[in-house]
Amino acid sequence: MNLSIPVIVMAAVIGLVGIGFYCLLVTRNMIRVVVALQIIVKGAMLALLLAGRMRGQLALGQSMALTVIVADTIVAVLGLALAVQVKRRLGSLDLNDLSSLKR
């Protein structure tokens, strides 16, 4: 089996996005939603780097991936802090319990 590097990286991108998207759709746990977002963003970062590499402008892809890493980390921090607060106030991490947004 002779697969080129772009094909392998694209397979990783498609796999990561698919797995993360599925988890995002089926999970009801707030912390697991953050896990799913992290998985999707890793796929997006690989796609950015691959696009830069294939265009011969890897530095551009890297600088964009750096921005994505920072934004992704902030999203994770905020998501986890929200989950902790929801657990403290409602006593549950279940997304169904948040549907009414009542305390």
């Binding site: 698919g18 993360g20 998207f21 998985i39 921005t67 986890l80």
Partner: protein, 165 residues
Amino acid sequence: MWHIIILIGILVCAFQAIRSERLLVAALWLAGTSALVAIMMYLLGAYQIAVIELSVGAGLVTVLFVFAINIAGEEPIPALSLIPKPLAWVSVIVAVGLLAWQILPLFDLPLGSLQGAGFEEMLWSGRKVDLYLQTALIFAGVLSMVALLSEEQTHKVSTHKEDNV
């Protein structure tokens, strides 16, 4: 050969991260995914971003997850999903199909020879707006987290004052 092994490792770790029952174990599988993605980035030639992903993705974010899970605790949530699982599968297949349809034409392209500015020059000279955005994001994130985590304490203090009155 190494690329294929790493690809399989990435997919297995990501799958285990969403499949494992315990949140702590899921966070560790996610760290494994980050580490393997960092190796894939290194093999692509993105050395600086690979190091940053390894330290931030596999290190900092994992510590944050463990911290949050320790505070919030493990909670068994019924396996019932938000939407029916067959519908979720159909949605995933459609989304992945669209993604593959968009990037399939790139399959024949070879890896281009590297040209243009280096990473440092591109980041500090060509992408200044990105740097401003990152700085703003970091400050916003830190301030938001402090506000979110200290709200409980403020709430307790105000409740205590009301009790005294």
